[in-house]
Symmetry: C2
Subunit: 145 residues, 2 copies
DNA sequence: TCTGAAATATAATGTGC
DNA sequence: GCACATTATATTTCAGA
């Protein structure tokens, strides 16, 4: 995991569809060497997968909200309960008054309300505190360099 | 933007490195037809780019926190001020008491503290309320199906 | 661990349906 | 808009340094 690996990752985050020859040139390596390093980064799990970034609004998910989920019980084993709600994009156990923070995308605020209803149905959930996003400044990949 | 397009996007989110022949088979299309639809989805901006998903911990960013940024002034034009802090992965203008919600990744809590310091330095920022993530249940792509 | 080249597979394009 | 065929291009592998 040296500077060349980090540069490769940064390039791949920018465009994972480019040829290895180009990728190698960007970091000062031959196509074969770039290929080899990327393969190892995948094997070691540093690179988890190649994926596409989509426009949520184009998929009919123009509403973004963060929801603090308050609970009475220990939520450390409740991962599946949250994963079962498809509108939830992220779920994190947090330190503080609430116990879980979730990121939710829906088409409408009515659907957001329905997600809150389903969150209340999870065993141990006491309350929710939803914060609706008015504008997203930016969402960018994990910093590689 | 029909069900086939949505299925294509879901498949590409799972693995954007697969061949068009496989991709087409997964949604009941020939390789050429799949290729054509994906090209159009890119042109229309539904698919923004092909990228790689990385393990933040492997890049030395094991600390994740969400920070509510309170402000006195209107923060609607402050995008660049937040973007200038590389540890900030996402920044959203929100409805509610705070005005901006940011997602931050650092190596240590000391570095998180330093990010808070830099947030305070932004014109109009009154205070911050950081919530450290203890465990991430999941982070998954935008729902396509 | 890299380079360079050869074999193999895929992408991209165009034609007809 | 889809399927098929053809060309161009990239991936993948391997020998050698």
């Amino acid at each position: 995991m040296d500077d060349v690996d980090r540069a490769l990752i940064a390039e791949l985050q920018r465009d994972a569809a480019q040829a290895y020859a180009l990728l190698g040139r960007a970091v000062g390596l031959s196509a074969g060497a770039a290929h080899d390093r990327v393969r190892k980064l995948r094997e070691r799990g540093v690179i988890r997968r190649t994926t596409v970034e989509v426009d949520p609004a184009a998929l009919g998910q123009g509403v973004l909200a963060f929801v603090m989920v308050d609970s009475s019980a220990w939520m450390g084993e409740a991962s599946e309960s949250f994963a079962a709600i498809p509108e939830i994009q992220e779920a994190h156990v947090i330190a503080g008054t609430a116990s879980v923070l979730v990121k939710v995308r829906t088409a409408t605020t009515e659907q957001l309300q329905d997600v809150l209803r389903r969150l209340y149905a999870i065993e141990g959930v006491n309350g929710t505190q939803a914060t609706v996003v008015l504008e997203t400044f930016f969402e960018r990949p994990v910093r590689a360099d």
